[in-house]
Amino acid sequence: MPSDRPLLSLRAVFLRQFLRHGRSIMTSPADVANPLLFFFMVITLFPLGLGPDPARLATLSPGILWVVALLASLMVSAKLFASDFEDGSLEQLALAPYPLAVTALAEVSAHWLATGFLLTLVSPLFGVMLGLPDEGLLTLLVSLLLGTICLTLIGALGSALTINIRRGGLLLSLLIIPLNVPVLIFGTTAVREAVLGGNPESWLALLGALALGSLVIAPLAIGAALRVSLDS
């Protein structure tokens, strides 16, 4: 929708869209609480499945926490653009005179703040419950902070690619799990290194590079994918 009004700067557009989306998330506290609760519940499944032995759980805890974070991001991102697509908001967004990449990135950022970031903040609690040694907690926090950025962006890409496909829920998982594998490996290795007294920094640096890379590439890919979904 080209307008006679002077166009906003991309930063202003991003900010506005971010605030809008953030506000609409805030109106339903369930949307904020549910991912955290899901994370919590799935984590409790592991001791039940693998046995309560504290020593063994402690050695497994980096892997468990990271796998569950990945699964939580899978479940959450499935719905990222779906409702926007179904109710027609997405086609309206596509008509705005700003690149979809920017507006989509704004939505994803708000979404990350409400899910991935919060999940990162509470993760030490679950680390303690699983008996993760104290040396690993900080690394867990940092690795999840960087890692959830990647997970959310990749999940958003998958969501953008599959919104137009009826019953796309599981297809989405298939698309994005392989893309998430490096994140998972770097993340768990970093935490495990920290616990064993090695140096997690190099792994965290790799994760940081991944996060930066996806921040640059993913929005463009998401914009293109949303266009395709609207066109078909």
Partner: protein, 196 residues
């Protein structure tokens, strides 16, 4: 000239629907896209708005802003009418609470401002979507079956609304299966002529 479409052709799913459509819309005009079910009215309107690009060929030029309201009403069913109208995804305009309540009152929804839109009737939901017309300053309106689900009073309100938009120099392109709502004011574009 608010919209200029030259030799537009529309394809959907490997099938060509329309070709050679020419449409020039200037301020003060009402155009109704006419044609049988499945002829391609919705597809053409989406093409004119630029929602769909794949399969749309020909030249489409806009001068100035426009407002597109499709079948899907871009309303979040879990949010209230006020929250839905606060901003429009495609526009930079932000409406104040006063403007929104005025607009909702104009579409006869006073008292329903703070209910979730999902708990409104079909016609009431359509009214919320149409309240966007009052909150926009775009000179061109592209409306896909705007009269659907409206009762008699609602249809009359919409007619009056389009008329006053016209008087302000705006223009409207809409689809409907009821012929000639606006009498001599409107021009028909019969898509049957362009069907392939």
């Amino acid at each position: 000239m608010l919209l200029e479409a030259t030799q537009v052709a529309i394809e959907r799913g490997d099938r060509r629907l329309l070709s050679g459509v020419d449409l020039r819309v200037t301020g003060g005009e009402i155009w109704q896209l006419v044609g049988a079910n499945g002829v391609g009215k919705t597809s053409l309107l989406r093409g004119l708005a630029g929602v769909a690009r794949l399969g749309v060929t020909g030249e489409i030029r806009h001068a100035g802003a426009f407002l597109y309201l499709g079948h899907a009403s871009a309303l979040k069913l879990g949010l209230s009418a006020v929250d839905n109208l606060r901003w429009h995804p495609a526009s930079d305009v932000t409406a104040s609470a006063g403007q929104i309540c005025e607009a909702l009152a104009a579409v006869n929804l006073a008292g329903y401002e703070h209910r979730p839109v999902g708990a409104l009737s079909a016609g009431q939901q359509r009214r919320v979507a149409l309240a966007r017309l009052l909150l926009s300053d775009a000179p061109l309106w592209l409306l896909d079956e705007p009269f659907t689900a409206l009762d008699v009073a609602g249809c009359e309100w919409l007619e009056a609304c389009v008329r006053s938009h016209l008087n302000g120099g705006g223009a409207t392109v809409f689809t409907s299966h009821q012929p000639s709502r606006f009498g001599t004011l409107q021009q028909d574009l019969d898509l049957g002529h362009y069907a392939v």
